[in-house]
Symmetry: C2
Subunit: 728 residues, 2 copies
């Protein structure tokens, strides 16, 4: 066992070490011309300022939640929550930091070498820091929690509700500790995603609405006062936000796997099917082990690209290659881990107590199903949003008929695109259950996330390239540089769509796994796990739950629109006040725009973020755990659809516009009415794909996590039970 634990910490340190190596390798590269350095510094300062301000609010919320948790649940959980928040915060911070170093170095590499291959490497090396930090920090924190609370304080062998807290309430200590850790990561992810998402789109929409539509200047034009804010947004939204989000999914999947193993042990013990404590420990260790080998596999995958002497000039293929190497290696190493860990256990016991239908490799098969489903869902997102395929091309052609049909067609595309990934998800759930029971469903979630370091690296590559293009444009570099970064950026758009499909798929499975753990937490031991939709309370919860993501999304869109409107006013004001800006004789006031985005994002992020945290808890205390169970399933179902819809519609509008720009629709190029219509589509899609969709991933996970933490309390104290008791 201790060897295996050694593997866990080794994997974590390897990833963090490799991240540090890449960090400094990038940082020591040349930044280029003075103008480039200036701009990069402005972006960096803006991003730092926002993150540090956001983190101040964030840590206040974390502190409040931690104190509350220490009082009403266990102090261990409160400490674990803080550890989780610190880990997630660090990953987001380091990743954003390197992104703001890498962007300018990417432009410079393009400027100096003119080689796509070399430029891609810089961008990917930068992105890999974020990816490796996500895996490394998450695992490091889990290892600490496991060692300190699980082993040193021996919580791991306590498998009943025997810990009594300050208020005299009883808890299963280790599951509560783990839930606390997951919640810490969730809260950080929520704020990073929502805050970053509003920031980036407020700046982007604001810049576009005046710049492109009114002043007719191109994107990233230095004359646009909002352009630096737009570039800052990429770093705080698409880098830090994305990293914390995936970290949260990753932790959620691991934690729910472990918690589920606990509950299955408790159930199975009561039923007398003979799951031994040794087997429980293996079930707890397996998720940790699987993600550890996954993380090692990711280091291999990332290195396979970075050490390449001769890169092909097709960045998309290279990036996919790194991901596939990581995924493949995860599957191979995972097999070894599963095989040896569960080898020697009696297949009959495995089948009876855990539902392992295929013996010791069952959980590996389930995890592999997850890996494959994740890849397939990503490919589907690519199909719907890349201009290489029919749907987006059709959308681009609809722009010829004007704005209304552009919007209509995009809505239709987004709606139609929901079915295919849902079939994959559904099949994944059924198959993984058939192979390994409920534990299998949670292992499928784990599998999908096990190579998260690779996918996040690729995802982060996108905004870094985007920024690099912005810097090239603003520094007035040779158009050939911009051409290289544009190639990189176009690939980044596709990888972003794949990443988004992947994020919602894995988020959905992680949320479902957390929901299973949630249900175990208040269902009596020895009973089957039931969430019966024919119970009126659960049904009502599901209906209201399904409306929640819509409410959340509506609030988010309005938040972006509101912040964007302020940006529009400011840009217009500057253009009016200083007519020299548009002639290029006056420098615009970038700082005011940055501060508007920051203030807007900070101001607007509170309501939606708190909604996700407060609603399930409040509903729990009012209507009891069954209602919250319905709420979770309803909001998960609706969020999956809405997130896919938003991601694909937005992605297709964006790429449809680009398709028109490169001459995909004959006779209707840049500057035509068709292009104008496509720009409107892109602007409408922006908050959908970059704010609403990504925030919905974390929305469902944080609701599940917060419910999991609070359920021991509101299962005992809630208004409905109180009334029922009062009346009879």
């Amino acid at each position: 066992m201790s060897i295996l634990l050694g593997l866990v910490i080794m994997a974590s340190l390897l990833a963090l070490g490799y991240a540090a190596f890449n960090f400094f390798a990038v940082k020591k590269m040349e930044e280029g011309t003075e103008r480039m350095q200036e701009i990069a510094a402005a972006i960096r300062t803006g991003a730092n300022a926002f993150i540090s301000y956001e983190y101040r609010i964030l840590y206040l919320v974390v502190a409040i939640v931690a104190v509350l948790m220490a009082i009403v649940t266990t102090w261990h959980a409160a400490v674990a929550l803080v550890i989780g928040a610190v880990m997630s915060g660090c990953a987001g911070f380091v990743g954003m930091k390197i992104a703001t170093y890498a962007n300018v170095r990417v432009s410079n590499m393009a400027r100096e070498t003119g080689s796509i291959g070399k430029t891609v490497k810089v961008a990917f090396r930068g992105g890999s820091v974020m990816g490796l930090c996500v895996g490394g920090f998450a695992l490091l924190g889990l290892f600490i929690v496991y060692m300190v609370f699980g082993l040193a304080m021996d919580q791991i062998s306590v498998t009943d509700s025997s810990y009594v807290n300050l208020l005299g309430m009883k808890f299963v200590p280790f599951t509560m500790t783990l839930s606390g850790y997951a919640l810490g990561c969730s809260i950080v992810a929520m704020f990073n995603r929502v805050g970053g998402g509003i920031y980036t789109k407020a700046a982007d929409m604001g810049a576009d609405l005046v710049g492109k539509t009114e002043a007719h200047i191109p994107e990233d034009d230095p004359r646009n006062p909002a352009t630096i804010a737009d570039n800052v947004g990429d770093n705080v939204g698409d880098v830090a936000g994305l990293g914390s989000d995936l970290l949260e999914s990753f932790v959620g999947a691991i934690a729910s796997g472990i918690i589920l193993a606990y509950h299955m042990f408790m159930q199975s013990g009561a039923l007398g099917t003979g799951m031994t404590e040794a087997l429980l420990r293996k079930c707890i260790l397996f998720p940790l082990l699987f993600v550890s080998v996954g993380l090692i596999a990711c280091c291999v995958g990332i290195a396979s690209l970075l050490i390449k002497k001769k890169m092909s000039e097709n960045p998309h293929k290279e990036l996919n290659g790194a991901t596939y190497v990581a995924a493949g290696a995860t599957i191979v190493l995972g097999f070894i881990a599963a095989y040896f860990l569960f080898l020697g256990e009696d297949p009959a016991v495995l089948k009876a107590s855990l539902g392992f239908a295929v013996g010791s490799i069952s959980p590996w098969i389930a995890a592999t199903i997850g890996v494959v489903s994740g890849v397939v869902i990503g490919i589907m997102a690519e199909y719907y949003t890349s201009s290489d395929y029919k749907p987006t091309q059709k959308l681009a052609h609809a722009s010829v008929e004007g704005t209304a049909l552009t919007i209509t067609q995009g809505l239709a595309l987004g709606m139609r695109s929901c079915m295919a990934p849902c079939i994959v998800l559904g099949a994944g759930i059924v198959l993984s259950y058939m192979v390994s029971g409920m534990y299998g469903v949670s292992m499928a979630a784990l599998g999908m996330l096990s190579f998260v370091a690779a996918t996040v690296s690729v995802d982060t590559y996108g905004p870094i390239s985007d920024n690099a293009g912005g810097i090239a444009e603003m520094s007035g570099l040779d158009p050939s540089v911009r051409k290289i970064t544009d190639t990189l950026d176009a690939v980044g758009n596709t990888t972003a769509a794949i990443g988004k499909g992947f994020a919602i798929g894995s988020g959905a499975l992680a949320a479902l796994a957390l929901m299973i753990s949630y249900l175990y937490s208040f269902n009596e031991a020895g009973t089957d796990l039931i969430l019966n939709m024919m119970t009126p309370m659960i049904l009502a919860g599901a209906i209201i739950g399904a409306a929640l993501p819509f409410l959340f999304s509506g609030i988010l869109i309005e938040a972006v629109a509101k912040a964007a409107r302020k940006m529009v006013d400011e840009v217009r004001r500057q253009f009016k006040l200083y007519p020299g800006i548009l002639d290029g004789t006056q420098t615009p006031d970038y700082k005011t725009c940055i501060s508007i985005s920051s203030k807007g994002a900070i101001g607007e992020m509170k309501l939606p973020s708190l909604l996700a945290i407060v609603v399930p808890v409040a509903c729990g205390f009012l209507f009891g755990p069954e209602f919250v169970g319905g709420l979770l399933i309803g909001s998960t179902l609706a969020s999956i659809m809405l997130a896919i819809f938003c991601g694909n519609a937005g992605g297709a509008w964006d790429n449809g516009k680009k398709y028109i720009e490169v001459g995909g629709v004959e006779g209707h190029g840049k500057g035509s009415e068709t292009h104008d219509a496509a720009v409107v589509g892109d602007t409408v899609g922006d908050p959908l794909k970059d704010t609403v969709g990504p925030c919905l991933d974390i929305f469902i996970k944080i609701m599940s996590t917060v419910s999991l933490v609070a359920v021991p309390v509101f299962a005992k104290f809630n208004l409905v039970d109180l009334i029922a008791k009062f009346f009879g």
Copy 2:
């Protein structure tokens, strides 16, 4: 008992008689000038041609389904299906017919008298024919089915699966017969809604896209070749489609109430809680009785407006008055019915076997909860879509910032608007269950629909007034006439929004009630009713089910866009070929446009309509009844959200545009850029609110109904069971 049955047929005949009286009262009015007569005749001919063509396809589908049903289920069900289809078909046909007579008479009344009050009366009298036909025909068919199969063939006293069909399969005969009747109504509703919905919006969008946006001629301008087709669309979509849809909800709620009573009796008999056969007969009779008194109440409500000597000049108040009188009278008469029907039954037995917590008036309370919920949901829809309130005003102001923010703000409004009605639905379900158990939930659905004749009358008033305005415009009547019809039309817009909220609310409850019956059909007697979301098959079904309405909506939107595009091409062609059209010296070719709309609608309606019918059956045979249970709950949840979203976003865009036109946004009137942006919003919203939203109501109901009919077959024969048997 026979007195009570007499009341049912009396109510039906009263409604149909009153409908006939109003029909001829309207028909004998003056049609006005020759030009008006010509235009009205053109609209009437177009509508007739479409309906008769549509009905030919429809009856082919009905015939095929009936033959299939006769073979695999029971021949009684097949006959009942045909009766249902005929009743629904008649209601839609008569309602459409009168609408095409009433429209021109409304214009003429406005022209001759200049009185809003008198004009409203004509429009409402026309609408009342549709409303009364919906209630009257539905009840007449049910009465026939009840008398012939229930009593004469004594199916009603057979409460077990003892009927053996041609293939040797067993059925509970009366529940199957009733399901067949409901399915007949469903199929007609599906085709009328989808076909009509595509027709009306293809014509409307086509007319707007060229007329308003390119040629800058006002709506309903006779120079626009698509304008007659647009007016035909109102009659086939908003009148016939709406009527069949609500008839289907009405029948679904009654049938599911009766079927549920059966299953509860079977369950309760096995459990020995003592539900007697006499009590069963009362439970079967109550839904019929309640809707009968509801129908009588509607006659009273409608008459209360029509016999008024002195009408106020506020049509909105008058129309609401009629609905409230009907709803109030339903509640009062329903109380008497419930009280006397269940009086004398032992409260303990009622409580144990039916969950009647408040004795004999329990089902009445549940139904009243439904009535109140329906009214409240309607009011909420009004709040979100009427320009009297903040959300739509805010949307109108967003148009100042351009098209993109108009769309964004509208999407946000639609999303936010989902929560409030869902809370009402959730509360309605929980409360009605507390009062009267599962039977109560189905009675709440019934209550919401019991005054359907009044709501449909008010809803139909809208398109009649809209058409009247179109005729006034096209006949070149005095602007004062158009002003009166505009007033009527504006009220119609609000009542339409209320009607849509009401349709989705009642549809959702009816679908849930059908789902309860569905679950009873294959769950073993004596067990609790369970739809456990933690069963992987059900969960997978729910995820895929939730994606279905999105797929369906996407297909529908594309269908409208495709048909609209053809219309655009035709209108452009005519403008180019005959330049005299725009000068008013040449008459456009209306007929070609009508035929394009017809062909487009007929061609495009097949895929989505069949999707709704085929998917649940195919899934049943492949994956079994549990999967379909998940499919139903998932698609119901997603459909509710999507329908509310579409209805409110679309309604708000429409009214936001009107708000700008009447000068609601200072400095930005008709013809401004702000108005142009609002027009784009309106065009985007059109297919959402008038095609997608309404079709989703019927989508969930037909899926539930078709599953209910097919479940006895696929519960026995399905691939999953086959494989399971094969492997062990």
